[in-house]
């Protein structure tokens, strides 16, 4: 009884004591694991083992709640705790979009795609104002931790609709925490929309499940109010579902399609009594596209239409093109593929074992499979496989946990306990590699943020901001008022850095009001090297040439970044 809390507390203490030994600057292209001190890794392993032990005694709920919470903090908060700034370029951009909305008071859909699905950003503008904050950046840093905690609370509810066995529910929650490596839990519309998606499904399973279950479905014994139950007003619940579906339609491009597919799958296997709901959500989705996202569609419809059904293109962009970059990075990508395949295999085994135990829940199986047709829709910039993994993950984790605990009577042996321990330890190791494999480029230092500030100080709204690659903490202010140029996207086939620099200088000279600046940072070089976007060392060479150029002068330089502006014209 004392073993599980002791392992959890000991592991947490070991991890916390090791934090100071993590030097993110020393990372190679394997990411965090390359600098993770052995005691920190051991601490995480102890916590995983402690949580696994606690799952076997689910009557000690406080240990499970505290253990899972601590595990989430450790798994999702390590680099947040030791990093110097919010990671990745996207959160900075999202803060900039919200700032533009708040400053202008209008939605201009011609700016870019964000302004065609502005729901999440209008929410951000509102929260920023209500909180009296100067920028949304004040609340983004710990988002991966708190978004996972909130999502796990929603999943705890969802899993209760699937099984009365608390061990199965807690193991499924633990597996989710160990396998949500896809980095879609930062401050973003996807994070928000996934939460709403899960809650919509939970509401439908709680209050709109037909009773008795159809043939072939043993129901799993989960907590359903049943369609005859009249204690909670159905019309109000349906109103809430439609409200959430509408908010998702206004906030994210892809999630409404995933939600429609999931609801249609539930109706198909006769596990949703609201049979017209998929049609309603589909119409909402298409209506938003047709009326509110016209500006986006006008510019992208031919490309989107051409990509529909092109599975070769999907496979190339989602798998083949991703196994690229430095040797360490290719290893990270292969680990991600292996973790994904292992989890899906476990889910398949779990589905079979549930069937053998006569505890099949067709709804969970259908929900796990529902996102896969999205692969035929379009490659989504090479991210569709990741998104399919994400949308199926809540349900796949339940089925994977059932591979160990298909019934309340199963999984009591020592061998079963060892199997759970071995599997969760392997998944934890896979998580650290998969999630933090890009950390060398995802981390920004204080010096890089300082250089971006200096870049804004060297220019005015209306100016041109040039970077070696689009991986830097920019765009968090005056988002729509600057022009941006990332040299890596137009890097010349011949001539290399010299040609790229000449092009940059020309663009800076040709730009009108607002001035122009060229910024080169440590994380840009890490990005192009790690993903193999440019020849190794290309941006370092560009920086040497820029430093020697008579047409440029240094506006700001620190140990991680340098900002150049055009040198004044010599006097005649």
């Amino acid at each position: 009884m004392i073993m599980a809390p002791a392992l959890l507390a000991g592991g947490l203490a070991l991890w916390a004591r090791s934090l100071g030994g993590i030097d993110l600057r020393a990372m190679d292209d394997l990411g965090l694991v390359s600098v993770l001190p052995a005691p920190a890794g051991a601490g995480i392993a102890l916590m995983v083992l402690g949580f696994g032990l606690a799952v076997r005694r689910p009557d000690h709920r406080w240990a499970l709640v505290a253990g899972l919470g601590a595990l989430v903090v450790v798994l999702y908060g390590t680099t947040v705790a030791v990093g110097e700034a919010p990671r990745g370029p996207v959160v900075w951009r999202h803060a900039g979009v919200a700032e533009t909305l708040a400053r202008t008071g209008t939605v201009d859909p011609t700016i870019d795609a964000y302004f065609n699905w502005p729901g999440f950003f209008t929410l951000t503008a509102l929260l920023t104002e209500l909180g009296g904050m100067s920028s949304a950046m004040a609340m983004v840093r710990w988002t991966p931790v708190y978004s996972n905690l909130v999502l796990l609370a929603a999943l705890a509810w969802l899993y209760r609709t699937a099984t009365p066995d608390p061990r199965l529910r807690w193991l499924a929650l633990g597996l989710f925490a160990l396998t949500n490596w896809v980095n879609q839990d930062y401050y973003a519309p996807q994070t928000f929309a996934l939460l709403l998606f899960v809650v919509v499904v939970a509401v439908l399973r709680q209050w709109f499940t037909p009773t008795p279950p159809p043939a072939g479905d043993d129901g799993g014994g989960g907590d359903h109010a049943g369609e005859e139950d009249g204690t909670v007003p159905r019309a109000a619940l349906m109103g809430i579902v439609v409200l959430m579906a509408g908010v998702v339609a206004a906030s994210h491009q892809l999630t409404p399609f995933a939600m429609t597919a999931a609801l249609a799958a539930l109706v198909l296997v006769r596990r949703c009594a609201a049979r017209g709901l998929p049609l309603l959500v589909g119409v909402l989705t298409l209506a938003w596209l047709a009326f509110m996202a016209v500006a986006y569609l006008k510019g992208h419809l031919p490309v989107i239409a051409a990509e529909i059904g092109d599975l070769t293109d999907v496979a190339r962009k989602n798998v083949a093109d991703r196994v690229a970059g430095s040797p360490e990075h290719r290893m990270v990508v292969r680990t991600r593929l292996a973790v994904t395949a292992a989890l899906w295999l476990l889910a398949a085994v779990g589905t079979l074992r549930l069937r053998g135990a006569r505890r099949t829940d067709l709804g969970m199986v259908a929900l796990g499979a529902a996102p896969f047709p999205l692969l035929a829709l379009q490659p989504y910039g090479g991210e569709m496989l990741l998104r399919v993994y994400l949308f199926s993950l809540p349900f796949v984790c339940y089925l994977a946990a059932a591979a160990f605990l298909p019934s309340p009577a199963a999984g009591r042996s020592a061998a079963s306990g060892l199997a759970v321990a071995g599997c969760t330890l392997v998944l934890a190791a896979g998580f650290l590699v998969s999630r933090y494999g890009n950390e060398r480029m995802d981390q920004y230092t204080g010096a890089e943020v300082e250089a971006v500030e200096a870049m804004y100080g060297s220019t005015r709204p209306g100016g041109l901001l040039v970077a070696g690659a689009a991986n830097l903490p920019w765009k968090s202010r005056d988002y729509e008022r600057y022009d941006y140029l990332a040299l890596a996207t137009t890097w010349p086939e011949t001539g290399g850095a010299a040609e790229a620099l000449a092009g940059a200088e020309q663009a800076m000279r040709d730009h009108g009001d607002g001035g122009a600046a060229l910024i080169l940072t440590r994380s840009q070089a890490a990005y192009t090297d790690l993903l193999g976007l440019l020849p190794p060392g290309a941006l370092e060479e560009l920086e040497r040439m820029a430093s020697a150029s008579p047409d440029l002068e240094v506006a700001h330089r620190n140990r991680d970044a340098v900002v150049f502006v055009l040198a004044p014209e010599p006097a005649p």
Binding site: L101, T122, A125, L130, G131, D223, T231, M244, G246, V247
Partner: protein, 119 residues
């Protein structure tokens, strides 16, 4: 009948009080210009709990986990719907959005109090 679907004719006793006290605290914080972290905590608490509690408190859900999740998610959804509608209507102003959400909270408190008062 399940635990989460037990009949409920009354909302939890504390909810109407929270739905009145939270907007009051928000108004005080804004009027006195209290900034982060206290101002942020009060503002975010209001935004993440009150709009949802005003609605969910009327549904008769006693299960704590279900109510907690629904309160937060419905709050976020209502906040988003209000803000998005104001932006598209060209009527965005933080004060207007706040006034609508405060009115919703107080309306929810009133309805829940009246329901509690019924025999």
């Amino acid at each position: 009948m399940t635990a989460s679907a037990r009949p409920l004719r009354r909302s939890p006793a504390a909810w109407p009080a929270v739905l009145v006290a939270s907007p009051a605290a928000l108004v005080v914080v804004h009027a006195t210009g209290v900034g982060p972290p206290v101002g942020a905590a009060v503002g975010l608490w209001f935004a993440l709990s009150c709009p949802g509690a005003a609605v969910v408190g009327l549904l008769g859900i006693r299960d704590r986990l279900v109510a907690l999740v629904l309160v937060m998610v419905v709050s976020l959804s209502v906040d988003t719907a209000v803000a998005t509608a104001l932006f598209y209507a060209g009527a965005w102003a933080p004060g207007t959005a706040t006034a609508i959400l405060v009115a919703l909270s107080l309306g929810g408190a009133l309805l829940q109090s009246r329901r509690r008062g019924r025999p």
